[in-house]
């Protein structure tokens, strides 16, 4: 990825200059990254994008040409430009590891440091985390729908720009896809790449059979033939069988066929029968054509005989839910390490933020299944030996007593004093971790439609703090004390 220092909203820079001008050079702040609503009306999200955030922060530096551009806007003073020239991130970051299932309101990333620095980070962090988390989540749904049939991601041509194709392929792999068509993503992230031939290949030869033979000659052991250029059952499959038998006769393994149009249920069943009758029982059938989790689920339940799936547009653009509304909200501000919790009020109860420096505690039962999460204040301790009663922060009469649990804190230290303090796992490790993590969720929570809502409550202390702050602010507004004199 390129240096993303300038990938920010102008108002971060105007506010930064404002902090300097108004004597807040050393003011400190804690910001939380969280989202309020799960995408796809689903039961979980799979957090992704942290590696790119780390890379962004480690490379944060304004070059002279950047400063020249900013100066040309006639907005900024030289004191500020000079601060930018020496800018680097010196704060602390904690984050939930990539591939962890997460839920609304949980702080996925917690950024602590001089507000002059932490303010700048908002835009790029949200851009990276929102997109990759969205695509990893979508991919995990597609993978679940295919029930073990491998998913090949090949949406690059419809992705929202080059990064969307490449970061999307990375996130899709974390979500469980087996490969990508995107060569750059393969080179950069070590994702297995896959792909064979397009309709234009078939059209470039005098006949379909000659096109198939030419491909078999080139890749005798990786020959997956696209059979729908003319007519799947009248021409494509018969020609593929002919070439498949020729390959097998020469001692090669014929890989199979790809269906890219028409009714995949009917065509796959007919094609399977024809392949089997010809003795090509180990040849696979790949299905593609505007697929998503719903279509794959429906086609499979109708008895389609498809061994692997190519998924493009719907996955890489997250077509039915193309944005995750992650936000970056002030949770505390202070100086010299002493912080005061802050919240933002709103007419909309769902938009009121959770104040203070927080952590996420996940409660597991003895079988290792996740029972509930509690968002708590950083210094709270939960004792495995005692039972704990948790309650819904809005419908507070909804209570649940946890016993016989063990806990895990999801946020782990990533930066301390601007230095990275954790190793970044390899992408294959993240994929394996995500798979293991998804296994800790009940199937009911992972259901594609109408999933059971996973419990995320606030600790009693955090709940109490929030109520107190809300009361104070409302009294202040009533007393016209928000500064209206």
């Amino acid at each position: 990825m390129e240096n993303l220092t300038m990938l920010t909203d102008l108002y971060q820079l105007t506010m930064m200059q404002g902090y300097l001008v108004n004597g807040c050079r050393d003011k400190e702040a804690v910001f939380d990254v969280f989202f309020r609503t799960l995408p796809f009306k689903g039961g979980y999200a799979l957090v992704s994008g942290l590696e790119q955030v780390v890379e962004y922060i480690e490379n944060l530096t304004f070059r002279e040409e950047n400063l020249a551009y900013l100066r040309s806007l006639n907005l900024f003073n030289e004191d500020f430009i000079q601060e930018l020239r020496n800018f680097r991130f010196t704060g602390d970051i904690d984050a939930v590891p990539e591939g962890t299932p997460v839920f609304p309101y949980e702080p996925l990333i917690r950024v602590k440091g001089r507000i002059f620095e932490t303010q700048l980070l908002e835009t790029a962090i949200l851009n990276l985390i929102n997109f990759e988390t969205l695509i990893a989540t979508k991919a995990s749904r597609v993978v679940a729908a295919a029930n073990g049939g491998p998913i090949m991601e090949f949406g690059l041509r419809r992705a929202q720009g080059p990064d969307a194709g490449t970061l999307g392929a990375r996130a899709a792999f974390i979500g469980g896809c087996q490969s990508t068509s995107n060569v750059l993503a393969g080179e950069r992230y070590g994702i297995p790449v896959s792909g064979t031939q397009a309709h234009s290949w078939i059209q470039c030869f005098p006949s379909e059979l000659e096109a198939f033979r030419a491909y078999a000659r080139t890749f005798p052991d990786g020959c997956l033939l696209l059979v729908d250029t003319y007519s799947v059952l009248e021409s494509g499959v018969p020609n593929a069988i002919k070439v498949g038998l020729e390959l097998e006769a020469e001692g090669h393994h014929f890989q199979g066929i790809r269906l890219d149009s028409g009714d995949l249920t009917y065509l796959s069943r007919e094609a399977r029968r024809m392949l089997d009758e010809a003795g090509l029982k180990s040849a696979i059938i790949v299905g593609s054509n505007d697929l998503d989790e719903e279509t794959i689920f429906a086609i499979r339940s109708q008895g389609a005989l498809i061994d692997a799936w190519g998924v493009g547009t719907h996955l890489i653009t997250s077509k039915d839910s193309p944005s995750l509304g992650g936000v970056y909200k002030l949770a505390a501000e202070g100086e010299k390490g002493i912080f005061h919790p802050r919240l933002k009020v709103s007419e909309n109860i769902a938009k009121i933020t959770n104040p203070g420096i927080k952590k996420i505690v996940r409660f597991y039962d003895r079988a290792g299944k996740a029972m509930a999460d509690v968002i708590a204040l950083e210094d709270e301790v939960f004792n495995d030996r005692k039972s704990l009663t948790i309650f819904d922060p809005i419908q507070t009469w909804k209570r649940k007593t946890l016993t016989n649990f063990h806990t895990r804190e999801l946020l782990v230290p990533v930066f301390r004093g601007g230095k990275r303090v954790c190793e970044l796992p390899k992408l294959q490790e993240i994929q394996a971790y995500a798979k293991k993590e998804l296994n800790t969720l009940w199937d009911e929570v992972k259901r594609l439609t109408n999933p059971h809502r996973y419990i995320v409550d606030l600790s009693a202390n955090l709940f109490e703090l929030k109520q107190q702050l809300l009361l104070t602010i409302h009294n202040d507004i009533k007393a016209n004390n928000q500064g209206v004199e």
Copy 2:
């Protein structure tokens, strides 16, 4: 942008090796980029992204590390790797200029050259053109809905990755947006940047009034205050008025306020009344919060008093239609400049391609309004002095006779023999051109909902060629001549 040479689908590379292995090193091909369906159920699309395509092609080169990666896949032979080492594009490209309204099936880009080269280009061209065209089109709709009220694009944090934010800001500017919040887009493309302060700024001061005063102190002549942190009408607007009057008393111009939540119609009318009564008649009201063309249209028609609009997620992700289905299809193949028209059949009549080397002719009436487009073969001539009867290529009984017209060919030469032969216009010029071009369309075609369908017909010659080829292929399939022996 980074070098995008590796931004391709693996199958382009496997096919390229296949062309070499099968003696097609010098085979030539013509590919068309086109889409089949207009996004947003709208009446037009605004083509965008050509500058990035040109940059991509001019920088096409495989580096040694790329070749090492490809070699590691154990798919490619050394002859092929050697060809890639010397790869550059040596063909011809014609394209419709950025900012031109275009319609389904029209070749937006026509690529002609050795198939070994032209095959590679498919993925990156589609990625760039699909996304930017989508966003430019969406932006032009948002701009139309605001009816002259400036649009500030600020979707970066929800964009699908860094490029989506930056290329999206570029495309949104072409579509008529006035500015972007994205500093990188401002630096790279010269787009005006805008932005003031966030809720976190307000929260960082002991009171809203102090926060406003601090901002006014920093930017006395660019002071647009966010008034919804606590309560818009009880606290935000009264405090903004106080600071506005203080600024004006000191001889500055108070810019105005931004509403980012709640009912924008009601709040903007109340805020306008309060500002006017305080004597701040020239202070503007900016509205934001999950806006798109429909919401802006609805709020405006209810009498909202909003002067400018901030539009984020819906625009930058094209939320209601997040992909444009542009494709890259073989139209002809040949050798040494002699081409044979090709088409791809399909059960779905809409998916049958148009064969041959084609151009787009736009017919204007004497007032300069676009009446119809005709997709024609490259060598066809249309005489302004004669009348011309055109017909719908599917419902062929639908005919229209054009008289008193003048014509313009939309495709212009961009590359000849691998060398760029056109100047790339400045972004501001493209925006001005797009505005002029949209004025050539009837309002009925630009209507946001249920627009009138603009006529795009095939020339009689192209129609005849297509029918002949279809007949031949169908006869071949029936006679089992697609190679099934």
